[in-house]
Amino acid sequence: MQNNRSIYYQYREPSPLRSLWLHMNTNPFAVAAFYIFSFMLLAMILSPIIAPYSPDAQFSDAISQPPAWHDDGEIRFLFGTDDLGRDLLSRVLSGAVYSLGYPLMATAAAAFIGIAIGAWAGMSRGVQSSTLNHLLDVVLSIPSLLLALIIIAILGPALHTVMIAITIVLIPQFIHSVHNAFYEERNKEYVIASKLNGSSRWYILTRVIFPNITSVVVMQVTFALSTAILDIAALGFLGLGVQAPAPEWGTMLARSLDQVYLLPWTMVLPGLALFLTVLSINVLGDSLRAAIQERIRGS
């Protein structure tokens, strides 16, 4: 970690997060993934401004236009239009809100709840904790999509029920990883030292242990996010998620299948957007994991 080039030698141990960041910067794939993901995020946030048209606007004079680089394409519809004459670029951009924005929200909500419960469970000991652990192991072995399907069977398919389902489904993963991380950290010397200093439980929880498990949390967030994106898209694809005509990528994909022979671009584009987003998140998560391993090995 010889990153300090100032004249005065002063070595400062970077924080766990910062050291991860430094490590990831050495991996070109991770950097690329980071830029792709940031681009997707930016596109999502700015989609109402940068989308050329409303995602639901139908241009009856431009039905089934191929993308602009095709001979029959028009420059005003860069990615072409679908069979109802809706601009595909606008739809994919606006779809990012459903396919990236909502998973982000679900992940954030699940992280908040899951970390709180996980930290509480990690700090307590004995039967309570071991029971929870076993239970979680079991719950986690049931696929998240299956649980989401059941919740949707109860509530009916709609945007808000999908959000509820995905959030609920993600919570156990957070509890599990945070709980395990706490469990490992809480008997380490530095925590005991802090305890001997008479710090309160709250202080130990938030200021002593938590900074040391942020890397685990970040990794879990990337994992949960890719799960959430894929699950929401899969539900949309099965017709049990966000309902058409909302430009959710999975729903768009399912719809595009009717014309896949004539309008292949309506199938390729949402799928590609989905693939790139998930890939960038997975690459980020993967390099995080590698960085964490490296750090543990190094220490």
């Binding site: 072995s141 696929p143 399907l149 059941i150 109860i154 894929l230 694809f237 399912a254 998930v278 890939l279």
Partner: protein, 342 residues
């Protein structure tokens, strides 16, 4: 080992009990009438309704109802489908057979390709081939399974004509459904076109199997690569090198058996992933298995079927996890100590 096994089995029983509680409460959470959701008999048929109302303990409290629920469950009386009014339990066997056949074949394929590729990537660590294998596996891991399935159908079935689009077998072969697993059914059948039917079934199988194997395959490659790298850094490998053993002996006698440990541990998780994807794959390939059955029952709001689908899929996953855990503990005794000591 015995202690560990017992402990693990008790845990399974507790879990199954919790699962039954969950499924029991689902009956009350689903829209509509709990008796109908449980039995598939609607109140518009007053005679039969009254009968099941009493039989399911609805005249008494919730505890009796739960007791009756478990009793009926164990007796194989899982109610009637709301749509077809046919007993749900009788439908399960062929569906389970079809799902397991698809899942097992995909798992085999994933292991057969994933383990050698993982080892290969580890041996070539940081070499170009390692990068390629890992890059491809990470990309393949990120492809949504429904998109992949559609692309494969378009490529292999429509463009190239190498395989049919969906289904288990050409229905003109009158193969009687007994186990649900098409290959076994053909073998059991007395059709005069057995060989042709067998080839036709294989021809239907390979695309869904590859689609399904993709995700566990990519994960296995990564797990295997990391495991081999870990083992290669161990002192006993260095010691073996120092003793002058050949590379292949080190690999096959010392590295691989130890590197398999995390792979075996992860098999249960891989199976869960596989089951998620099997739901979607079955829908796309019209595979007559549990996954497509469950999804259709959700479309049709057929609550007795939804419950049965959930129960069977979840129990299957739990059982496989138990099996993998026991196998793991039996094969790698050092793990048992860790678990027992907790």
């Amino acid at each position: 080992m015995l202690r560990y096994s017992l402990r693990r089995i008790v845990l399974l029983i507790v879990t199954l009990w919790l699962l039954s509680l969950l499924i029991f409460s689902l009956n009350y959470w689903y829209p509509g009438n709990a008796v109908t959701n449980m039995t598939g008999i609607s109140a518009s048929n007053p005679l039969a309704y009254q009968e099941v109302y009493v039989a399911r303990g609805f005249e008494d409290g919730i505890v009796t109802q739960y007791g009756e629920f478990i009793r009926h469950l164990l007796q194989g009386d899982w109610g009637l489908s709301l749509v077809t009014q046919q007993p749900v339990f009788a439908e399960i066997k062929p569906l389970l057979g079809a799902t397991i056949e698809l899942g097992l074949l995909a798992m085999f394929l994933a292991m057969v390709l994933g383990i050698p590729l993982g080892v290969y990537a580890a041996v070539q660590q940081r070499g170009p081939m390692d990068r390629i294998v890992m890059g491809v596996s990470l990309s393949a891991y990120s492809i949504p399974v429904f998109w992949l399935a559609q692309l494969f159908i378009l490529l292999f079935a429509v463009k190239l004509g190498w395989s049919p689009i969906s289904g288990q077998i050409n229905p003109l072969y009158a193969i009687e459904t007994q186990t649900g697993s098409i290959l076994i059914d053909i073998w059991l059948s007395d059709s005069q076109f057995k060989t042709a039917a067998f080839y036709d079934a294989l021809n239907h199988l390979w695309v869904p199997v590859i689609v399904l194997a993709m995700m566990p395959l990519t994960m296995l490659i990564r797990i295997m690569r990391n495991a081999v790298l870990d083992v290669l850094q161990q002192n006993y490998i260095k010691a073996a090198r120092a003793r002058g053993l050949s590379d292949s002996t080190i690999m096959f006698r010392h590295t691989l058996p130890n590197a398999m440990q995390p792979v075996v541990r992860q098999l249960g998780l891989q199976f869960s992933v596989l089951m998620t994807n099997i739901v979607i794959t079955e829908v796309i390939f019209n595979w007559p298995g549990l996954g497509s059955w469950l999804v259709k029952s959700i479309y049709e709001r057929d609550f007795p079927v939804i419950q049965a689908g959930l129960l069977i899929l979840a129990s299957l996953i739990l059982l496989v996890n138990l099996f993998v855990d026991l196998l793991h503990a039996w094969r790698y005794p050092q793990v048992r100590k860790e678990i027992d000591a907790e």
